[in-house]
């Protein structure tokens, strides 16, 4: 069995263990720790110079009438390796951050594991069918986590997010099926590498490519909260329990971007050309419009939700320009954003739990009472703004380098987004941690003990590691991206 399959098997075993009444928190903790170590093992045994996928496992699954054979086909290259690391790190942090003795504990941790399993499965799948199924598998527990453990107004929000994301998935499914039907019957397959090989030698008719790309863009775009399909995200994250917001905003949301760069653009390059200008307009909507909307927010978690939507604009920019530098930047920023937003949501959760407040107007001066939280929050905010030395900077810089040559004006407007994000992020830092400490917050305590601090230190370490040594990721990403373009 490939080590990649072990990554999927471990949460599954923990899931079964919880079913058989093994203490849920311990099982989830054990599974996420093992998975973190397995992903590190894969990282250190990955050969960047190898052409193609590594740790491959390919088993025939089933065949449905009118559909090509479905395979359980998994493997790793530089791009999904980075995302595997992101997933295991954020999962471990999310599990530790979750409170002990939460109601319906068994279910809670099972759902967290299921999201992690679904995300890992989607990232490592080289078969379109499993790629889609794994993502859907991860969505259902997200709805349940929000619906059961969410804060006020969870009923409405969980229904809204459910419908939004499922409609997005449906459109995506129509796009995937349309893509298959575009090919002649004997060339149809779910195998992503074979599909890419095929379209490189047999270009598809441009008008059909364009329509199919439209479906995929709207489908994936909704899952990533592309403007204007974003309204589910801020309210969803604001209401979600901390661990669910960390896993969804940090990891699962990357599925849409990963789908665009792994499936939609390589298979339908002509489609991207046709939709490019609209995509530029929409991503500027993400960066500028949502950026200004974020500034107007009065609550911490809602603001973080909007800021997450805003940052997706940069990632779309990197994808739209579609060149080597930009694409490397996209992968780095996906990881960096995942780490930083997970850290921010975790800290926001701590602040909410300890103070009972989430409105900026009710907070202030917490730096005096919570030095650890404030340092971590400031570091995460700096990362989010794109301060050099932290992970996001490396990704954003590469994306802007990549896009500058192709679209200087759009890039210039997008760079303005950095100023906007600095405004709202620093304002949040200022109004939460500085200024006068309100009397009702005088007794608030900081996070105590190394085990409680561990998830934050873990996320911060990775943000610093990638920021200081982007080569940690780029050494595996770049060769893969180069192969991507060399075979094009």
């Amino acid at each position: 069995m490939s080590f990649v399959s072990v990554l999927l098997l471990v949460p599954l075993l923990a899931f079964v263990a919880i079913l058989f009444r093994v203490p849920a928190r311990q099982a989830a903790l054990g599974a996420s720790l093992v998975n973190f170590l397995v992903s590190l093992w894969i990282y250190f045994h990955y050969d960047p110079q190898f052409q193609g996928y590594q740790f491959v496992q390919d088993i025939r699954w089933i065949q449905l009438p009118a559909l090509p054979e479905i395979h359980y086909h998994v493997g790793v290259d530089g791009i999904n390796l980075a995302l595997i690391l992101l997933t295991t790190v954020v999962t471990l942090a999310a599990v530790i951050v979750s409170p002990e003795g939460i109601k319906r504990e068994g279910e809670f941790y099972s759902y967290l594991l299921a999201i992690s399993l679904g995300a890992l499965g989607a990232f490592v799948s080289l078969d379109l069918f499993f790629f889609y199924i794994f993502h859907e598998f991860a969505l259902v527990p997200t709805f349940l986590l929000i619906g059961i453990w969410g804060s006020e107004n969870r009923q409405f929000v969980s229904l809204q997010i459910t419908l939004y994301l499922i409609v997005g998935s449906m459109i995506l499914l129509v796009g995937i099926l349309a893509l298959l039907v575009l090919l002649p019957a004997d060339a149809r397959t779910f195998d992503i590498p074979s599909l890419i090989n095929y379209v490189q030698t047999h270009p598809l008719p441009i008008n059909k490519e364009s329509l199919t790309f439209g479906f995929l863009l709207v489908g994936f775009g909704t899952l990533v909260s592309l403007f204007p399909f974003y309204t589910w995200a801020p309210s969803g994250y604001a209401v979600a329990p901390t661990a669910a917001a960390m896993l969804h905003a940090g990891v699962l949301k990357k599925f849409g971007l990963y789908g665009l760069l792994r499936v939609a653009i390589p298979l339908l390059p002509g489609g991207l050309e046709q939709w490019k200008m609209l995509l530029y307009a929409l991503l500027l909507g993400n960066i500028l419009y949502i950026g200004y909307v974020t500034i107007a927010q009065k609550e911490l978690t809602t603001m973080l939700g909007y800021s997450s939507v805003m940052h997706m604009g940069y990632l779309f920019l990197g994808l739209a320009t579609w060149n080597k530098i930009g694409l490397s930047g996209v992968v780095v920023l996906m990881v960096a954003h995942g780490l930083s937003i997970a850290l921010l949501f975790a800290l926001a959760g701590e602040i909410k739990d300890r103070t009972g407040e989430i409105k900026f107007s009710e907070l202030g001066g917490l730096g005096q009472r919570m030095p650890f939280v404030s340092v971590a929050f400031i570091l995460a905010s700096f990362a989010s703004i794109g301060v050099p030395g932290l992970a996001n900077f490396a990704g954003e810089l590469l994306i802007f380098f990549g896009s500058w040559k192709a679209q200087p004006w759009i890039t210039a407007l997008a760079i303005w987004g950095i100023v906007i994000s600095a405004v709202y992020q620093l304002r949040a830092v200022q109004s939460v941690f500085f200024g006068k400490l309100p009397t009702h917050l005088k007794e608030v305590e900081d996070i105590q003990g190394i085990t409680k601090k561990f998830p934050y230190i873990l996320l911060m370490s990775f943000l610093l590691l990638i920021g200081m040594m982007p080569n940690f990721l780029l050494s595996v990403i770049k060769p893969t991206v180069e192969q991507y373009f060399a075979t094009h």
Binding site: L64, P65, I133, E136, L159, M170, L177, V181
Partner: protein, 474 residues
């Protein structure tokens, strides 16, 4: 002749055992519960009797009656349906007037009619089979005559059913008048030899109207929500699965044999597409505001009729395979859903609204999970059986060029999520008014487990069912 009797075993066996049971309970004053158990045993016995003849093939009585793998598969389907309906009836015994053993015996005759329909190769036999089924449903729907809603439902079903039957007979008369035969092969041969003329098309249209009623396809659906709501729950289940399947079996047969000729196809394909389109749009949209769960499932059944018609509109083997697979997925989900409804109704005899599902998870997690899987499967979310059913239907329709239909179908399926997820939301996310645990019998627990696991396993690993369907169609 002997072979024929052996091959007909489900029909003969079920009819004979129904008659024996009727006499037995009349003279020996059998307790209604024992009758129910005997009926369950009858279904099992009929299934066992079928086993030796699974591989047989043949056409009997000058082409009147066919025994092929498809017929066997559908007979098995109807036996499972009958068995589960009887089980649900036994489970809901407190809701049905006591000492009425006929309530348990009549489904045997209905199932015999359905099994007969699986083998029809002649329009007269088709009509007879369909009437056996329909007439027994007239009785079932109005069985609880002390409830005005049941009487109203029975009346509606009777009037509209009779109208549909007249259309069907009229259609058959036209076909017979033009072709000189009611036998499927003869009609097909006629169409090959001479051009298809207007009266023949009229006959086809009338027949489709009659069968549209069975399939509860728009615009012949008006009875569905009222009857689903008014009938007792086991009967609603029977209508939702058995009666609908009977309609589709007949459609599968006639559209692929007597009316398979391109001369016919160019007329019936647009009609089927139109019915499918209207059914998915109306069924899904009208289900959204419903608060009574049986009424909601009534509208949802209209939409499922639409999805199934979508498979038929593909007029090829893949479409037929999709329809058969879809029905198995539908059977598993609907029975799980109605079993849970019956279990809830025991505490709430006045009827179950979606509000009554609030916090069901805290009262009985197995019931909540079974209902959730049923709803998710009906909604068509992966990786449950319902998803693969919809996927195959969409693909078949897309391949045959019905692009608009598929796009509208996908949008409607997405709209349908709203009401299915609404039930899941009530069970898991809403606090109940009281947390009184609901206890289940071991047999019911096992059945709920089987239905839930079946819907996941046969979805994620659909190969066995697909192979079976493929073998049937080859």
């Amino acid at each position: 002749m002997n072979t024929f009797f052996i091959l007909c075993s489900p029909e003969f066996f079920l009819t004979a055992s129904a008659l024996v049971l009727l006499l037995w309970q009349a003279f020996a004053k059998l307790n209604y519960k024992s009758v129910g158990v005997l009926v369950l045993a009858d279904y099992l016995a009929a299934g066992v009797l079928l086993l030796p003849f699974v591989e047989n093939q043949g056409i009997f009585y000058n082409g009147l009656y066919v025994w092929d793998k498809m017929a066997v598969l559908w007979k098995v389907f109807f036996l499972i349906t009958g068995f589960l309906v009887s089980y649900i009836s036994l489970e809901s015994d407190s809701l049905i007037p006591k000492a009425r053993a006929e309530f348990y015996i009549l489904p045997l005759l209905t199932t015999a009619g359905m099994a007969l329909l699986a083998s029809v190769r002649d329009f007269i036999l088709l009509f007879v089979g369909l009437e056996i089924v329909t007439v027994s449903f007239y009785v079932f729907v109005a069985f609880q005559r002390e409830f005005p809603s049941a009487l109203e439902a029975g009346m509606k079903y009777l009037i509209i059913g009779a109208l549909a039957s007249s259309f069907l007979v009229m259609g058959i008369a036209f076909v017979f008048g033009i072709t000189g035969s009611t036998q499927f092969d003869e009609v097909a041969r006629f169409a090959q030899k001479s051009p298809v003329n207007a009266p023949l098309i009229l006959g086809l249209v009338f027949i489709l109207v009659g069968l549209g009623f069975k399939a509860s396809a728009v615009p012949f659906h008006v009875w569905t929500p009222d009857v689903y709501q008014g009938a007792s729950t086991p009967i609603t289940t029977f209508l939702a699965v058995g009666s609908k399947a009977a309609g589709f079996v007949v459609l599968l047969r006639i559209l692929n044999l007597p009316f398979y000729d391109p001369g016919f196809q160019k007329h019936w394909i647009p009609l089927i597409v139109l019915m499918a389109l209207l059914s998915v749009v109306f069924g899904n949209l009208a289900a959204i505001p419903q608060r009574n769960i049986k009424r909601m499932l009534g509208y949802s059944s209209i939409s499922h009729g639409g999805f199934l018609l979508m498979g038929l509109s593909a007029h090829n083997k893949i479409g037929c395979a999709a329809v058969i697979y879809y029905f198995f997925a539908y059977l598993v989900a609907i029975f799980a859903a109605f079993l849970v409804i019956v279990l809830l109704e025991k505490n709430q005899p006045s009827g179950v609204s979606i509000k009554d599902f609030n916090g069901l998870y805290q009262k009985n997690s197995l019931m909540a999970w079974s209902m959730a899987f049923a709803m998710i499967s009906l909604a068509g979310l992966p990786p449950l059986m319902g998803f693969f059913g919809k996927l195959m239907v969409f693909l078949a329709a897309w391949e045959s060029g019905q692009h608009l239909l598929v796009i509208v179908g996908a949008i409607c399926a997405a709209a349908g999520l709203y009401y299915y997820i609404g039930v899941v939301r009530a069970m898991f996310w809403t606090e109940p008014e009281n947390v009184q645990r609901i206890d289940l019998s071991p047999a019911t627990k096992v059945l709920l487990w089987i239905l839930s696991i079946g819907s996941i396993l046969l979805g994620f690993y659909a190969e066995p069912v697909i192979k079976l369907v493929g073998a049937v169609l080859s």
